[in-house]
């Protein structure tokens, strides 16, 4: 699975209130949430971000609440993947469950700047910075997690598995 886009850099301890403020948790619609993604950190982010772009952040990305609206807003905004020095625990789980690829890559998180053209190979755990001609490694996403991401999250994955099993039985 490959992702290619422009990087948007944020700092340490980006909390879920920064990712999607609580005043917008009156909906579960990904497009509504996406329209307010990161707006307290950068008011123009929802307009500026393009499909496939990559959020790059420091330590403890996604700290704070358990709101799944956070990965949903980021994914809804078209962000292809989040690279960070480290992730908060609940956000880490939620991101995979929602089908948002995330990579812990301290070296990449430190080196990439806003505007850099970045390519990510999730199978290899490889991050290439085309702008700076640099390569960084991350922990590769295991095949099970990649299937989960490709299915669009945990529930779709579980459903797909159930459907596959049913199809096999019926054949």
């Amino acid at each position: 699975m490959n992702i290619k886009g422009k990087a948007w850099k944020f700092g340490d301890d980006i909390d879920t209130d920064a990712i999607i403020p609580a005043r917008y948790l009156i909906s579960t619609d990904p497009q509504f949430l996406a329209a307010h993604c990161m707006e307290d950190a950068d008011a123009e982010f929802p307009e500026k971000v393009k499909a496939g772009d990559i959020i790059v952040a420091g330590k403890n990305f996604g700290c704070g609440s358990s709101r799944e609206h956070a990965p949903v807003a980021i994914k809804g905004a078209g962000v292809g993947c989040v690279i960070a020095h480290s992730f908060a625990r609940i956000f880490y789980r939620n991101a995979f469950n929602m089908g948002l690829p995330i990579l812990e890559a301290p070296e990449a998180a430190a080196a990439i700047a806003t505007g850099d053209e970045v390519e990510v190979d999730l199978d290899q755990g490889l991050i290439v910075n085309r702008t700076r001609q640099q390569r960084y490694t991350a922990q590769p996403v295991p095949p099970f997690m990649q299937e989960l991401l490709q299915a669009g999250g945990l529930m779709n994955y579980v459903q797909k598995q159930t459907a596959d099993a049913k199809e096999r039985t019926e054949c």
Binding site: A18, A22, I26, T28, N60, S66, I90, L154, M155
Partner: protein, 419 residues
Amino acid sequence: MSMTISEKILAAHAGRSELRPGELLEVAVDFALGNDITAPFAIEAFRRAGAKKVFDPERVALIPDHFTPNKDIASAMQVKGIREFAAEQHLTHFYEVGRMGIEHALLPEQGLVLPGDVVIGADSHTCTYGALGAFATGVGSTDLAAVMMTGKIWFKVPSSMKFVFRGKLRPWVGGKDLILYTIGQIGVDGARYGAMELTGEVIATLPMADRFSMSNMAIEAGAKVGIIPPDAITEQYVKERAKRSYRFYESDADARYERTYEWDVSAFEPMVALPHSPENVRLVTELPRIPIHQVVIGSCTNGRFEDLQQAAKILKGKRVAPGVRCLIIPATQEVYRQALRAGLMEIFIDAEAAVSTPTCGPCLGGHMGILAAGERAVATTNRNFLGRMGHAESEVYLSNPAVAAASAIAGYIAHPDAI
């Protein structure tokens, strides 16, 4: 094999006699909960997966508390969906306005979450129940959906960190100050993925309300759980309330800890976390004169009866400073009733504070006390992130209830002794 209390609870729920940090395992869940923000996603996922019935209608609680009483049409629609789901699933524990409370104050008070339990909540402050000696942690809505379906969840066994609090607490210093100090020392990711174990002679004499405040904010250090060894004080609290049987677990004397912190707290003074991070902790006495516009006393951190008592001690016979709004939010209907009977409500109203029905409300900038640009609040809540209580140019200072009440009277952040 020696184990910590967290490891023992997980082992017991996974049918194992021993386990090690880092292992992945599937554990049985004793109780699961969601609120008006997280349950809608969970219900969507539950239905999308084709699930028909929750694993046990007595062990799934849905508590609309964040935007209730419904603040607008959209939140009313969300709660309506939850109400319908609760009826369809015959859930025993759906809490309507008038009977409800803030989830993390309500469930322990009602004896629904108990020592030795594994509790999963689609709310990050689910770790509050660690104060009962339970393994309780927050998850997202999809994980809650899976638990509602199966009654199980997978976990990585966290490594444990031990915190030993020694000495004797001075007046006006409580659990909130201890946990703020802890977060200030280790940082907002200082216990990331880990199990915090809060121990020592100070904790052993600490009332339950203070213990709940401490465990509640373990997530603010990134922890999975913030567990306190259950003892006679725990027993006193749960014995009259428990709706099921419960069990006390304790760490072995030679259990392994990734790190141990030991602090003498005898000289501690009340603390405040400055904007915009709970780790930005200072002593109240160190601060310059910081004028404020609002005070919030309530939330799952400090909305219990004992918290309101602290506030009332300060507010009695005084008036909230001109230009300051003081909001007091009992965490549950039971806390409200207790406060009424104890005469606290009259003290609050005489002091010109506004008393609200239970709600999370302003803590997360939901409703009932949103800040404008340039406004500053002292709150007994748990987070002071940028924009948390309203406008991105507003500020939240976290404190204990006595400091919040003293600040309401002074009009600036004040030590209770200054009043």
